[in-house]
């Protein structure tokens, strides 16, 4: 039954409904796959007992015919989501063996709809990273390798565990979060589909916060249809998160296969970077051509403040993070390193509990908010943010329905290859994705091709606020044209 893991979510839904197999069988197949793939380090906590219990319970519901839209579908959960009674660490030593007494809104909606939890997925510590190398549980392996190479590559980050597990067929879909590209960049590195919905589309309640004004959860899945199914369950207004928006959640799956004829697709000239690899350029043109062939209209657009997005992001995000992470002080939960007084206890706890990248961002954030620097950094970054947002608004006001860009400036790279000497080298991974978070817009990454070494590459589509449906329709056109990409199993 191992081939059960290669089904798409939509296919599995049909098999479960037709009683071709049970959720328990489907779940067991995935649990075996997880066990066999531990070298990837995608899961930081496997919850097989809970998974089987949930599967059995949902099988009973399926038998009675009152199961939800995700009934029996085994999922992986990024370790940033609080799961009741199940250790939640944000892959940081500082949370230690923290076990929440509460369930995040998003995961509780998934369980409500019948999904099954396989375990908790690896991520960059507090979602700070673009290669899943900052996790206290160690790096995650990408199931993709360069042709003829044994080098293990990163799956991207911060949702590296989610992307790797979905690509390696360890789970049918995964939750993820995206603050500057943490869903879309790993999706692009692993030939999976990842969508960061509009800010406010999904509740942030129960998700360990990185940068509150940028964080947004979304799914990583193996097809646009699968992602649409997952997002429908994840999305929705939550009175416990006042930044979530009370807008009806459409049936995203209905957008799959919808005609894109007449849609205006913006091609932003500012995303054509100097020194951009030719194969990225080629992929982009190809994607545009596919959309055009499907009846969409291509227009060149300008997003003039794009070049300021990354520097502004690296002020806003660390500023919020420095404040959001202040609660990890060793007083109430998680790691506590004693000291002779309270200040020493803080210092010892936070020095021991936070990794290098988290400490760096906390320090940057503290600096940009401090007296005398606030206006020069934080306030200016917020002004840049407003301008970036306006760039997009102007563009949409001219009738553009969505914007097509590359998802990443390169394919996946080797563990330890980037950012060792200069963190900015790593930050540049998010050059095409951070603008979307800064503007609060929805963005989807879909696999579109491979580079010369056989590594997957993705394209990004950016949509109007709350118009995820158009992204699904357009994403599926690219998906159909590019075909499906599956890594050769080496683990």
């Amino acid at each position: 039954m191992t081939d059960l893991t290669s089904l798409t979510l939509a296919e599995a839904r049909k098999g479960l409904a037709d009683k071709t197999f049970t959720s328990l069988e489907l779940t067991d197949a995935h649990l075996s796959a997880i066990e066999a793939a531990r070298v990837l380090n995608a899961f930081v906590l496997e919850t097989p007992d809970q998974a089987r219990d949930m599967a059995k319970a949902v099988d009973e519901k399926i038998a009675k015919g009152n199961a939800g839209p995700l009934a029996g579908i085994p999922l992986g959960i990024k370790d940033l989501f609080a799961t009741k009674g199940v250790r939640t660490t944000a892959c940081s030593k500082i949370l230690g063996n923290f076990v929440p007494t509460y369930e995040s809104t998003i995961t509780s909606q998934l369980w409500r709809d019948g999904a099954v939890m396989l375990g908790k997925l690896n991520n960059d510590e507090f979602a700070m990273g673009s290669a899943n190398e900052t996790s206290c549980f160690g790096p995650v392996g990408n199931p993709w390798r360069r042709d003829g190479s044994n080098t293990t590559l990163v799956p991207g980050g911060s949702s590296g565990g989610s992307a790797s597990a979905v690509a390696a067929l360890l789970c049918m879909g995964a939750t993820a979060t995206d603050t500057g590209g943490s869903i879309r960049q790993p999706a692009a590195f692993t030939a999976t589909v990842g969508i960061k919905p509009t800010y406010g589309r999904c509740s942030r309640w129960g998700i360990v916060a990185f940068a509150s004004s940028l964080d947004q959860a979304g799914p990583i899945a193996r097809s646009t249809r699968d992602a649409a199914m997952l997002l429908r369950s994840m999305a929705g207004h939550d009175p416990k998160d006042t930044t979530s928006v009370d807008v009806a959640v459409p049936d995203y799956e209905a957008a799959i296969g919808r005609s894109v004829k007449g849609l205006r697709i913006g091609i932003p000239k500012e995303y054509r970077l100097d020194g951009m690899p030719a194969e990225i350029e080629k992929l982009w043109s190809e994607g545009a051509a596919w959309l055009k062939a499907a009846g969409a209209e291509l227009v060149e657009v300008s997003l003039p403040h794009t070049k300021y997005a990354l520097p502004a992001y690296y002020i806003v995000a660390p500023a919020e993070a420095s404040s959001n992470l202040a609660r990890y002080d060793g007083v109430r939960y998680g790691l506590r390193e004693q000291g002779r007084n309270i200040i020493e206890q803080y210092e010892n706890t936070r020095a021991e509990g936070f990794g290098a990248e988290v400490r760096r961002r906390v320090m940057i954030g503290t600096y940009v908010l401090s007296a005398g620097y606030y206006d020069a950094y934080y306030l200016r970054a917020q002004k840049v943010r407003t301008l970036i947002k306006k760039d997009f608004e102007d563009c949409f006001a001219k009738g553009v329905n969505a914007i097509l860009t590359p998802a990443t400036p390169s394919a996946a790279f080797g563990i330890g290859e980037k950012g060792g000497a200069d963190p900015v080298e790593m930050y540049l991974n998010d050059i095409f994705t951070v603008t979307v978070n800064m503007a609060g817009l929805p963005g989807i990454a879909v696999p579109a091709g491979k580079d010369a070494q056989g590594l997957p590459l993705g394209l990004q589509l950016i949509g109007r606020p709350f118009d995820e449906e158009t992204l699904f329709s357009l994403g599926e056109v690219i998906e159909q044209a590019a075909g499906r990409f599956t890594p050769a199993r080496w683990w």
Binding site: T242, T243, A326, R327
Partner: protein, 492 residues
């Protein structure tokens, strides 16, 4: 403001003027905390009123409690202040174990309430107007318990997240008397509005007092902030001490260090807590978890329409409608409960136009006097408003004399009971029947022929006869009737 309303302090180099500004932290009366559903009940086992949000568990988010917003707006209206239809919550970042989030959610650049004004009454009928700079909403912190273990401190988060209103005055206060009167008035307004219980012992109302001194007319001096005062008396003492301390330093050629100080009521002095250099850099920035606080003018108008009558309005009404003196009216309105008691008495009077003023005298002199003597509160008065109204009715209608009424009051105080029934059962009724009194008058005149002869030359000795008649009637004779009868019988 005229200089006559405040006191200058004498130094060796001449007069000094004290300049005071205050930040009052008033706990908002609400069932639940500012950003969580946890209870705000005072007391309770440590950490028994703590939600996941209050404990800053990972992934928790604040949700504004609308009742707290309404309370802040009501308070702003009560302070004649500008209500800002859009305000912003900011994070004030610092580390302390009683602050689980590592930041306090407060309002920094855009508070919910802007400038306003409070009229403050001083002794001798003087009054001053004190400007309000702003009012904003913020979270309270938890409490550290240092007496639970010899080696560790414990944290109680019951107060963590409770809503506070910080009410900032302009530096308009000029001496300790004004400062005390300002806090008293503010407390009174808050209690009338029902937006803060004003209980300073429980910490529901605390003040940070900024004090500086200058030569009259000179620019503002460097200020010191005396933190966390929870007694009006101590506020007065601390200001007196601090002003003299600063004057002494300046007159010795020194300079004032801007710093935070604490008042020690046992020693009667302020001492340094931390200097400006040690002050925190709070790194304020807008809280990204909360949208700006926005509401409509009609929301404000609705709250305004529902406001209760405030002490100033009530005082004006008492003077105009009932003819009370300004002083009596101020005494009655100073505490909300006193005013409520008085007005309940009024409502129960048979003839409030005739007896309203008498009722005020009775509440102020007899009732407050007796309560003070026994250190009891008006809310726990043994004589109810209904009983007092009955006593006053009995006087007003002429059934008992004022003197008998005092005896009756004492009986009601001690034993309770319906005053009207008591007057009946104990035969306390005033005798107005002339024939009954006439007999007594005749007997007394007959028994004292000398005095009766003298009274024509010395009319003031009539009082002696009145006294005698009253005495032998057991105080029940109507004094006016006795007077007239005596006059006619004695031929004066």
């Amino acid at each position: 403001m005229s200089t006559a309303t405040h006191k200058l302090l004498k130094g060796s180099t001449g007069d000094w003027e004290v300049v005071i500004g205050m930040e009052i932290h008033a706990q908002v009366t609400s069932n639940s905390k500012l950003f969580s559903g946890a209870s705000t009940t005072f007391g309770g086992e440590p950490n028994s009123h703590v939600s996941l949000v209050d404990a800053a568990m990972p992934g928790m988010l604040p949700v504004i409690n609308e009742e707290c917003v309404r309370q802040a707006v009501r308070t702003g209206l009560g302070l004649n202040a500008k209500i800002n239809l859009r305000s912003v919550f900011d994070r004030k970042n610092y580390f302390y174990p009683d602050l689980p989030q590592g930041y306090q959610i407060s309002q920094y650049k855009s508070p919910v309430v802007g400038e306003g004004e409070v009229q403050v009454e001083l002794d001798g009928g003087r009054s001053v107007s004190i400007g309000i700079e702003r009012l904003h909403l913020e979270q309270d912190a938890g409490k550290l318990l240092h007496d639970q273990s010899p080696t560790m401190s414990y944290v109680d988060l019951n107060r963590s997240g409770v809503a506070l209103m910080e009410i900032v005055s302009k530096p308009d206060i000029r001496d300790a008397e004004q400062a005390k009167a300002y806090v008293t008035k503010l407390r009174s307004i808050l209690r009338y509005l029902g937006t803060c219980d004003g209980d300073m012992e429980k910490g529901s109302l605390r003040a940070d007092v900024n004090v500086s001194v200058r030569k009259p007319g000179a620019p503002l001096g460097t200020r010191c902030e005396i933190k966390n005062m929870n007694s009006i008396t101590f506020i007065g003492q601390a200001i007196e001490y601090e002003a003299l301390r600063q004057i002494e330093i300046l007159e010795d050629g020194g300079a004032i260090d801007q710093e935070t100080r604490l008042y020690d009521p046992n020693k009667g002095e302020t001492r340094s807590m931390r200097s400006k250099e040690e002050a925190h850099d709070y790194r304020y920035f807008p809280d990204p978890d909360l949208l700006p606080l926005e509401f409509s003018q009609s929301f404000v108008d609705e709250l305004k329409a529902g406001l209760p009558e405030l002490p100033d309005q009530k005082k004006t009404r008492f003077v105009a409608d009932l003819g009370l003196s300004a002083y009596d009216a101020s005494v009655l309105v100073a505490e909300r409960e006193s005013a409520v008691f008085y007005e309940t008495v009024l409502d129960k009077l048979a003839n409030r136009a005739r007896d309203g003023k008498m009722a005020a005298n009775w509440v102020i002199n007899e009732l407050f006097g007796r309560l003070n003597k026994e250190s009891r509160d008006i809310t726990d008065s043994p004589v109810s408003s209904e009983q007092l109204a009955a006593i006053i009715d009995l006087i007003g209608e002429g059934t008992i004399s004022g003197k008998i009424a005092k005896d009756l009051f004492e009986i009601v105080w001690q034993e309770g009971g319906d005053p009207r029934a008591l007057v009946e059962s104990r035969g306390m009724k005033q005798v107005t029947d002339l024939s009954a009194i006439e007999k007594v008058v005749d007997d007394i005149i007959a028994a004292n022929p000398d005095k009766a002869a003298q009274v024509k030359d010395k009319p003031q000795s009539l009082g002696w006869f009145v006294g005698q008649v009253m005495k032998s009637s057991g105080g029940k004779a109507n004094p006016q009737a006795v007077n007239e009868l005596l006059k006619s019988k004695l031929g004066i």
